[in-house]
């Protein structure tokens, strides 16, 4: 039963420490473990528990750290100090908030659909945590190195839209329903460019496995696939509902959107899932486009991964601190009129390049570093003209810039001027 997990070094190192004299561990070169033979199921259970806890607690701890980091960084951008009371540099503020949230009264509105209302936070948080299962955070440190990793990620991240729609509908709040409808619209629109932008990566790597994707990145794919990166990054921002696509939780329009009627830990879980989704999105970007844990030798692979992840998160926070929000029609127009075309250009160019250099390398990968650099050069040559072209197509209508030309005389009130509804 346990043998097929032994290829996973994270599992093997914990399992074989306890049950080292089982057959699989011996063949992997482990000495005897401290559990007697016949107790392998205990070792398996403990290992599974430890790994699951490691990743879930890691994700949740990451959320607390991200909330603190975002508050501090935003404060710096905004000429403020930020939280600085609880713990050094205010690092325990998120913990204090979590404790406060737990002790709030848990209210379910009378009109709410109680079952769906309670289900929505669960539906929101589970897929996000499942994403972390396939992300390699270091050499051999991955919970499940499944061979359809990218497909799994794309499939499972779309559940957040369902959860938001569910929360919105179940709380029977009209403002929340706006949020739910927007979430579905964003999901339907941005799922397509998101998946298509990964197709270019897929053609180069020839595998859906996350570890395989990292191993194929002799050159980080942000350099090889600039269009793919741009589209995926924007689509991921929309999926995570971050600025400038934060329409589902548009504070100045919808107050808190689908979170309006949630309180106590249900609110906490929804909120946590949203931030965990941000980390998950950043982790996917790190893995697929920034070559994941690859780096230079003396520094361990885990440090490289975390450093790149923090870089992506900082970029996301920077965008939040700087840009206003787009309107719903503009957001959808960008997805269908802009990003979709960009991914098609990217696909065609990448397809031609992969067909032209399709010989398999000696180390088993499809393309060597040299070939990737050639691809990068071509892709960057395509990048700027296509961005310019799409920008021209998407640009707003010409606008009358006649500042300072006053009307010759101030207009006299006329019969034609609409007085309907004026100062009834």
């Amino acid at each position: 039963m346990n043998e097929r997990f032994l290829d996973n070094s994270l599992f093997r190192n914990i399992y074989c420490y306890m049950a080292g004299d089982s057959q699989g561990c011996v063949s992997h070169g482990y000495d005897s473990g401290f559990l007697p033979s016949g107790w392998e199921w205990v070792a398996f259970a403990i290992t599974a528990f430890v790994i699951a806890n490691l990743f879930i607690q890691g994700a949740l701890g990451g959320v607390l750290a991200l909330i603190w980091g975002e508050r501090r960084i935003l404060a710096r951008f905004q000429n403020r100090v930020g939280p600085n009371r609880w713990g050094p540099l205010g690092s325990l503020t998120s913990v204090a908030d979590a404790v406060k949230t737990m002790f709030k009264e848990d209210i379910v509105p009378d009109q709410a659909d109680r079952f769906l209302f309670n289900l929505a936070p669960i539906v929101m948080v589970i897929p996000v945590l499942m994403v972390f299962a396939v992300i390699p955070i270091g050499i051999g440190t991955v919970v499940a190195d499944i061979n359809i990793g990218l497909l799994f990620v794309i499939a499972i991240t779309s559940a957040s839209g369902l959860a938001i729609a569910m929360a919105a509908w179940a709380s029977a709040n009209r403002i929340a329903i706006f949020s739910g409808l927007r979430a579905v619209a964003l999901l339907v629109s941005y799922e397509i460019p998101m998946a298509l932008s990964l197709l270019g990566v897929l053609m180069i790597t020839g595998t859906l496995s996350m570890t395989g994707t990292i191993e194929a990145q002799h050159v980080p794919f942000i350099i090889v696939q600039p269009l793919g990166f741009l589209v995926f990054f924007l689509a991921a921002l929309a999926e995570m509902s971050r600025t400038p696509f934060d329409l589902t939780e548009a504070e100045s329009e919808l107050a808190a959107g689908h979170l309006n009627d949630y309180s106590s830990m249900k609110f906490g879980v929804l909120f946590l899932a949203e931030w965990a989704a941000t980390i998950a999105g950043a982790a996917i970007i790190t893995t697929v486009f920034l070559s994941g844990w690859r780096g230079w030798e003396p520094i361990p692979s885990h440090i490289w991964f975390v450093a790149k992840l923090v870089g992506v998160l900082f970029l996301i926070i920077w965008i939040r601190a700087t840009w206003p929000r787009l309107r719903i029609d503009q957001v959808l127009a960008i997805a269908w009129k802009g990003l979709f075309e960009l991914t098609l250009i990217n696909l065609v160019v990448t397809a031609i390049l992969t067909a032209a250099m399709s010989d398999r390398e000696a180390d088993g990968s499809l393309f060597s570093a040299g070939e990737l650099w050639i691809m990068a050069a071509v892709n960057w040559a395509v990048f700027f003209p296509s961005i310019w072209l799409i920008g021209k197509l998407l640009a707003a209508k010409p606008y009358d810039e006649s500042k300072g030309d006053a009307l010759p005389e101030y207009p006299v009130a006329t019969e034609e001027a609409s007085l309907e509804g004026v100062a009834d």
Binding site: P244, E251, E253, R327, Q330
Partner: protein, 370 residues
């Protein structure tokens, strides 16, 4: 298959993060599109006009502070203009120059707040707001030097101001005027060239000039529609006929024009303050108590004093029966009157434009409800 759809009616406010106080909309949406808006206000009504009938002319100044609390100096100025007309007081020149300086500083502060909150409504998470608040902070510190208060100033008195500016005020003012154009440039670098702000504000909630004039819209909102109407120029009060300034105009009449006009007006305010600081001469800041007693007792009659406030024409109509307090006090509040076209502006726009257009009017609920 046909899907049955129906409009959805939503109540937004008075408890809502971006209603600029306690304003309430009852909006009917067709999907995301607004098909009807019903503005409901009165949640901040404190009966200031009625309270004014119970107070002496001097005490009413404190009520005017609390009407438009982001530009209380200008409210003081409009009220005092009406009182001086009513009593026939000739104000001291130094006091008038001082109140012009204070008023223009207050106009800058008010426009800064308007621009900052407009961007807040656009969804830029607090960053422009904190930047404009930094500039407003230095203006409020100067007010503190002038009169000891930062928000509710009560600086003006019949015939002048409460007291002369302290010596340290003038170097502070000078360095602030040196600094501010760079700050405005910084803000414009950040905002005016931003593609998202263009896309969100241009061509949205257009207000044609003839409709605006019909509804007696005034202030930056009217000038953004291309109508050259500024009381400082058309009907100069105080010493505004002795200073030179431009009146920024934009013909588009949309949200961007309203934003742009405010940004440019701040630069004109700097020019005006510089000229005032040059022309001011030593002297008493208000007439002695022999000429204007503490309890002014105007003759029976009425007077209307109006200034170009930061939001539009701010006027006070006072009726006196010869007693120590006004028989009737009425305020022409620009916030309230600029609000009348809200429904016309909003119908046909999307939900995302609702609060942006509302913010671009730059109203203050304290002044709307009084």
């Amino acid at each position: 298959m046909t899907v049955k759809t129906e409009p959805i009616s939503i109540n937004l406010g008075p408890q809502h993060p971006s209603t600029h106080g306690v304003f309430r909309f009852r909006v009917t949406f067709d999907g995301e599109e607004i098909i009807d808006v019903e503005p409901i206000f009165g949640y901040l009504h404190r009966g200031s006009e009625k309270l004014a009938e119970e107070r002496t002319y001097q005490q009413v100044v404190t009520l005017t502070d609390r009407m438009d609390y982001v530009s209380s100096m200008l409210s003081n100025q409009a009220y005092m203009l009406a009182v001086e007309k009513l009593c026939g007081i000739e104000p001291s020149p130094r006091g008038v120059w001082l109140r012009m300086i204070a008023g223009e500083l207050q106009r800058i502060a008010s426009h800064l707040v308007a621009v900052g909150f407009l961007l807040q409504d656009l969804g830029s998470w607090g960053t422009p707001l904190t930047y404009v608040m930094r500039e407003r902070e230095s203006i409020l510190s100067m007010f503190e030097m002038l009169c000891g208060a930062r928000i509710t100033n009560s600086y003006l008195r019949p015939g002048g101001v409460f007291m002369d500016a302290p010596d340290e005020f003038w170097p502070t003012l000078h360095s602030f005027l040196e600094e501010l154009p760079h700050r405005i440039d910084e803000l414009e670098n950040y905002l005016t060239g931003n593609e998202i702000i263009f896309a969100r504000t241009k061509g949205v909630a257009v207000l044609p000039p003839d409709v605006a004039v019909n509804a007696s819209i005034t202030g930056p909102m009217l000038r953004a529609s291309g109508v050259d109407w500024d009381l400082r120029h058309r009907d100069p009060y105080d010493f505004y006929d002795q200073v030179e300034f431009e009146r920024p105009l934009h013909t588009a009449g949309d949200n961007f024009a309203r934003y742009w006009v405010r940004m440019e007006e701040m630069r004109e305010c700097i020019k005006i303050i510089r000229q005032c600081a040059q022309k001011i001469e030593p002297g008493p800041v208000r007439p002695s108590h022999d000429e204007v007693p503490f309890l002014v007792r105007p003759p029976a009659g009425d007077a209307y004093g109006a200034i170009e406030g930061s939001k539009g024409e701010l006027g006070f109509y006072l009726v006196s029966d010869g007693g120590i307090s006004p028989y009737r006090c009425h305020v022409r509040a620009p916030s309230l009157i600029n609000l009348t076209l809200l429904r016309e502006m909003l119908i046909g726009t999307l939900m995302g434009d609702l609060f942006v257009s509302f913010g671009s009017i730059d109203l203050n609920m304290g002044e709307v409800d009084r």
